[in-house]
Amino acid sequence: MSHGHAEVLTTHEVHHDEHGVHHHHQSFISKYVFSQDHKIIAKQFLITGMIWAIIGGLMSVLFRLQLGYPDQTFPWLEDILGNWAKGGKITPENYYALVTMHGTILVFFVLTGGLSGTFANFLIPLQVGARDMASPMMNMLSYWFFFGGSIVMMSSLFIQTGPFSGGWTAYPPLSALGDASPGSKTGMDLWITAMAMFVVSSLLGGLNYVSTVLNLRTKGMSMTRLPLTIWALFFTAVLGILSFPVLLSGFILLLFDRHAGTSFYLSDIYIAATNQALPNEGGSAILYQHLFWFLGHPEVYIILLPAMGMASEILSVNSRKPIFGYMAMVGSLFAITILAFLVWAHHMFVTGLNPFLGSVFVLLTLLIAVPSAIKVFNWLTTIWKANIKFTPGMLFALGFVSLFISGGLTGIFLGNSTLDIHLHDTYFVIAHFHIVMGVSAFFGMFAGIYHWFPKMYGRYMNSTLAYIHFWVTLIGAYLIFWPMHYEGLAGMPRRYLDYSNWASFNQFGDLNRFISTVAMIVFSIQLLFVFNFFYSIFKGRKVTTQNPWGSTTLEWTAPIHPGHGNWEGEIPEVHRWAYDYSKDGRDFIPQTEPIAANESKH
């Protein structure tokens, strides 16, 4: 390890300025807290993301409780939540606060920060063959902005008027007028502050990921030899860099509307609570929706692409077969990245959007099905007739493919503007995006954690617990979200606490109770995963070989416990692509092995 370090100091000219301060005996603080080592930063993102996931998941359990049992009171809720559940019932205001925070936390802090932050940091330098990121300093700042944003967001849960409660998309006027609801007051200011810090963190991280992939690849690592994980993380970063700034500009205009009295989004408003007509004129709430969804749609792919990349890699490794259609996989990632910027208005079909424009967006939206289908086809062909090793990582990768197919199909329903008139803002949308984005990205993340845990901590996670975790989560996820399609088709709107006044939805009473029960079970199984994770860090079975899964990629050529700098001695040189499995009678050929004279072409 000290060897690797001397390397960093003396030979890695690019990092010279940042690393000048490093010495062999680092203090605890500089090694684990303000670390500039991409592997430590990855773990910081992962563990922060896990804490957020538990909090965000718990919120959904709480509001599911009330949705499943709308007429009951739970006195113990008041004991633990105090004002949030006065008289043992979650009030409508608090229900809105809970769903808003649930969405914000899961979308941004878990599946964006937690997912990209973890795996882009961990895998990019290790798989492209670099000692660290292009700028380890910026990388460290990226985590600390994320941390700061997390603290601010968290603090909004504890203020008197409560956190923001106008939905994760923060549409004005609810988000623009403090008088509109309790959560629109200080809670919203904290929400914007936290999100702004989050955007800065994403940008700092994304800039680094892109420039590392493009500039710091080891000798021989041409772009077409990159593992698909890296391609996916690269496009994810590009999406973020180009779309988050637009969200930021939307937020800046929102801040002016909130605090300077401008009318970017506001017009002709009368507030009943204060008996007051506002002077704002000429603004348009639709403008905010455009700015929001211009990020919002790319954002869903920011969440999904890393999962796609990791699933591709893990499926290939555990099928002991090359990924089918490597270039088609890269091409479809590229197509998705481009199209992701051209479909945002499909979230706005019912806002009075010009129907002609709407039909253009229908076309572009349905076009996304093409690259998505290519990817699915290639995953299925990769596992076709393969000698599959059902490791926990592999199971989750397979689960990912299943969920992506199910959720992608319902996207095609929603992408038709005429059908969407009926389906918009119903439980059908909830079912769609939870399956295709929420759960499937979680599956990609679990797959990645189980697969790369040995590289992260030098130990294995417990497989028995992992199998229980997998089956309960997969079956549970379908049981929770599949029935929601029927509720949505029947017209049941989202974002209501109590449906008992709607005779037509009474038929769903039992179903709602069932969904809530399964949600609680699935949530508790996630705690089993958390236990497995932390237990295995300290007590898991030790990794004894450098390359436990028999992978071709570079990270498995590094020592079992890589130091800062990743490789002792020189960085290995790359001679081939990342998918030489079951070739010429050999189980696998590492990327570092030169092409032999009589080798067959892939």
Binding site: K219, F244, F256
Partner: protein, 189 residues
């Protein structure tokens, strides 16, 4: 030992590259804002304003500062440290001057009745967009001040041109960005 360095492919210095990607992201931010303007402006009932004359002068100032920046980079590369410091100082002063002129122009506009409060209009966009641009110039000025201190500190002897190149690229960028925004508003309001 030095071989490990040659294994790293460095066609373009990563810091420079990072700057270019960062510039792409700043462009997206202003593209978002100006397209918001276009969307809003096309909805009708959108009062426009008369641009203060001062913006023409501030345009001249920032354009000149781009020249002095480029010049100082040239001086640095030729190891003309004296000249480099002088030109860096001039650039910095011009940058501060630009921001000051923007602020004065804002207050003129304000005096003439364009306020933030109330009905929408191109004035509100102008304050936000030009203000945000000024913040980016301010960031550049702060970076210049840091370079300035480094250039005058006797202890640091550094002939690495990369930071100066990064600085000058950024400076030209905020200059061009200003020209774009200014022309945009000239046509739109």
């Amino acid at each position: 030992m030095t071989e490990a360095v040659s294994t790293q492919r460095k066609k373009i210095h990563p810091h420079k590259f990072t700057l270019w990607v960062g510039i792409g992201s700043i462009i997206m931010m202003f593209a978002g804002l100006t397209s918001a303007y276009i969307v809003k402006g096309s909805m009708g009932n959108f009062p426009t304003i008369k641009m203060p004359q001062l913006f023409y002068y501030s345009t001249a100032v920032i354009l000149i500062s781009s020249f002095t920046m480029q010049w100082s980079l040239k001086a640095f590369k030729e190891r003309g440290m004296q000249q480099y410091r002088r030109l860096l100082t001039v650039t910095m002063i011009l940058g501060v001057g630009f921001i000051a002129m923007q602020l004065i122009a804002f207050s003129q506009l304000w005096e003439s009745g364009t306020k933030l409060k109330g009905a929408t209009g191109s004035g509100q966009f102008l304050y936000v967009i030009f203000g945000l641009h000024a913040v980016h110039v301010l960031g550049g000025v702060i970076a210049l001040i840091i370079m300035f201190i480094k250039a005058f500190s006797a202890r640091i002897r550094n002939y690495n041109p990369v930071p100066v190149e990064v600085m000058s690229t950024y400076w030209h960028f905020v200059d061009l960005l200003w020209v774009y925004l200014f022309v945009f508003f000239l046509f739109k309001s």
